[in-house]
């Protein structure tokens, strides 16, 4: 009896989480997958016809938006690493007793609603707003200069909005490094650069890896930033899916696009995991 209980314990432990995932993740996923293969419209209803053409149509009509989403996702993720790594490094190694204060300050803006923050950016960056307005009226900027409605604005917004998802895992990875290991590398004739490249960076890579997954996926499927900051020429696929689903009621097409995006993201992540997540990278760092 006791043995049986022991054998069952791990399964019992995953039961609540597993049930949750089954009900709120797997069921809708299967449902949406089936919707993506339906034909019909909101008036006559939808019918399951195994209509794979939905996918082809999606690619055909919105292929450029899909590619743009992945591209913006990549840019914003790289920008996040560039901003997050030094910040996390500084807090982890130079933060002293105030580490958690600094971390809190960094996360403070994110207690405000995501949409609200993005709208605030729009107000700040608008052509006659507090930032560009004065510069423009003093003739410091050309008349046709603007930030809003550009890819740059979208990527900046994405970077800003998803920064914490990069900072936190990198911080955790750096924080976990035993400082004596770094001292040992100095003791063994490594200068600052070598100590960083051979010891700190490889030991923090798992954090970067987690951060990339946690930012790249939501960034590539985000629709708020492109909608608020990007204008009509920088539309991302999330925005299209939303419009097709809620405004045009094209449930089948929207579902097909969602699954296409998911497939692309999975391929991207696995390619990345193969390139970076393996031990080979760490091994190479040891040389």
């Amino acid at each position: 009896m006791a043995r049986l209980r022991k054998a069952l314990t791990p399964y019992l432990m995953i039961l609540p989480g597993g049930l949750w995932m089954a009900v709120f993740f797997v069921v809708p996923l299967v449902f949406m997958l089936s919707v993506s293969l339906m034909t019909g419209n909101i008036i006559d209803g939808f019918k399951q016809t195994w209509h794979w053409q939905n996918y082809a149509d999606g690619f055909h009509t919105y292929g450029d938006k899909l590619v743009r989403s992945l591209w913006y996702g990549l840019l914003a993720t790289v920008a996040c690493i560039a901003l997050a790594y030094p910040a996390a490094y500084w807090i982890a190694f130079k933060g002293g007793r105030r580490k958690s204060t600094y971390l809190f300050l960094l996360l403070l803006p994110f207690f405000v609603s995501f949409v609200l923050r993005t709208l605030a950016w729009k107000l700040v960056l608008t052509d006659n707003g507090p930032l560009l307005g004065p510069l423009r009226s003093h003739g410091l900027l050309p008349k046709d200069f603007h930030i809003l409605d550009s890819g740059f604005a979208v990527v900046s917004g994405l970077t800003y909005n998803f920064l914490p998802f990069m900072v936190l895992p990198i911080y955790v990875a750096l924080e976990r490094i035993d400082y004596r290991v770094i001292e040992a590398s100095y003791d063994l004739y490594a200068g600052r650069t070598q100590a960083f490249l051979r010891v700190v960076l490889p030991l923090s890579l798992p954090g970067v890896f987690a951060g990339v997954i946690m930012t790249f996926v939501p960034v590539a499927s985000d629709y708020v930033n492109s909608e608020v900051l990007g204008g009509p020429n920088n539309v991302m696929i999330g925005h299209i899916i939303r419009t097709e689903y809620f405004d045009n009621s094209s449930y089948a097409l929207a579902s097909a696009l969602s699954f296409s995006l998911m497939a692309l993201l999975l391929v991207g992540i696995f390619a990345y995991a193969r390139a970076l997540g393996t031990e080979d990278v760490l091994e190479a760092a040891g040389r």
Binding site: D178, E183, A184, Y186, D187, L188, Y189, A190, V199, L203
Partner: protein, 386 residues
């Protein structure tokens, strides 16, 4: 940076000799600032460690051993004083450019590298040719008995094996001195003893100066050529294990190393070479004085006698011996020896170890009145640190 010329310290005995010491600390002090307070971790340390010497820093937790070591390695700069490596001041020289290597208390192995890469790390940073690296790492792993484990990660090794990787990683660079900070602290007793023998063997084999930090007095006594006993940021005594054990200079050293009996007395006969003291009624102690010590009649003094140097008899001992009367308060039989706790008439609590020779009967029983006696050369007058 200017290199300061200076004369090596000569006031300590032992092996430092005439040659330039491998490591020298001159008036070294280190203060930390924490919570607005100044903490003197090391108050003032003067040491000269000879080439090839096995030198131990021994002292209780928090006495400043690690701090002293970190100043030699270059992780901390002294607040005052100077560190010399082979006669050259290393003030301002960072750790990666000092020709000493450290074995950390926690080993601090690189967790993401294999054993081979860990050991090769220092050589690679010094741009040693590949073939030579392979050769030297292999030879080193042979010495520490880890050949065939090159590909393992530190996490896949036992504590003792990790310890040996840490040792190999430092030694393979052939540093002029190796600093070991309680390298055996994390090992269990058996492994610890085996590693003590191993370390000694390796040190003889490579002939490198070892500076060894420990708070285990047994370890320090068995392994070292010389020991510096530290307490509260100061070196209380510096000498060979025998000197430290047999002639403890201060009360702290006497108490920290081995068991010691502490007796107080009043000088009845002063002098420079020896003094005669009175300890309670009928207690007469002849004590030898160290260099430069002298005592005047009437001085109150303290001295130590090791428990195994004392004899316990029912009859009054010969006049040439130091003798103190007392009463046995406890007898503890320990197999090979018996411990007698005696309260002297002078009010001191004393313990005497008596070896249990063949057919020996108990020398005394609880409550018996006895005489304690010992040769004059076994009692040492205690001083206090300057």
């Amino acid at each position: 940076m200017t290199e300061t010329q200076h004369a090596p310290l000569r006031d300590d005995p032992g092996r430092a000799g005439d040659a330039v010491p491998a490591i020298e600390l001159a008036g070294v002090r280190k203060e930390y600032h924490a919570h607005g307070e100044t903490v003197p971790a090391v108050r003032k340390v003067d040491l000269a460690i000879g080439q090839g010497e096995f030198f131990s820093l021994l002292g209780p937790s928090g006495c400043g051993k690690t701090t002293t070591m970190r100043m030699i390695a270059g992780f901390e700069e002294p607040t005052a004083g100077e560190v010399y490596l082979h006669g050259e001041s290393v003030t301002g020289v960072p750790a990666n450019r000092r020709d000493v290597n450290m074995v950390f208390q926690s080993y601090a192995l690189f967790p993401h590298m294999s054993v081979f890469e860990n050991v090769a790390f220092g050589l690679r940073r010094r741009r040693t040719p590949k073939a030579e690296i392979a050769e030297r790492v292999a030879a080193m792993l042979e010495i520490v008995d880890l050949a065939g484990r090159e590909k393992r990660r530190p996490a896949e090794l036992s504590g003792g094996q990790q310890q040996r990787v840490a040792l190999a990683r430092a030694l393979v660079n052939r540093p002029r001195a190796l600093l070991l900070d309680e390298p055996l602290g994390a090992l269990d007793l058996k492994l610890r003893q085996a590693m003590q023998v191993e370390l000694k063997r390796i040190q003889r084999e490579v002939g490198i100066t070892f500076v060894y930090v420990t708070h285990d007095q047994g370890e320090a006594l068995t392994m070292s050529d010389r020991i510096a006993v530290m307490n509260d940021g100061l070196v209380e005594q510096l000498g060979s294990p025998r000197e430290i054990y047999e002639r403890p200079a201060t009360k702290f050293v006497a108490g920290f190393i081995g068991t010691s009996n502490l007796l107080g007395g009043e000088a009845v006969e002063g002098g420079a070479g020896q003094a005669v003291l009175r300890h309670g009624d009928g207690g007469r102690i002849v004590a030898l004085l160290g260099d430069g010590r002298s005592v005047t009649a009437g001085d109150a003094v303290e001295l130590t006698v090791r428990p195994e140097k004392m004899q316990i008899t029912a009859d009054r001992p010969d006049d040439g011996l130091s003798r103190v009367p007392g009463r046995v308060s406890e007898v503890v039989y320990l197999g090979t020896s018996t411990n007698y706790n005696v309260t002297t008439d002078g009010g001191a609590e004393v313990v005497v170890f008596v070896q249990n020779a063949m057919n020996a009967e108990d020398v005394a029983r609880r409550g018996d009145r006895v005489w304690l006696s010992w040769e004059p050369q076994h009692s040492y007058l205690l001083g206090s640190p300057e």
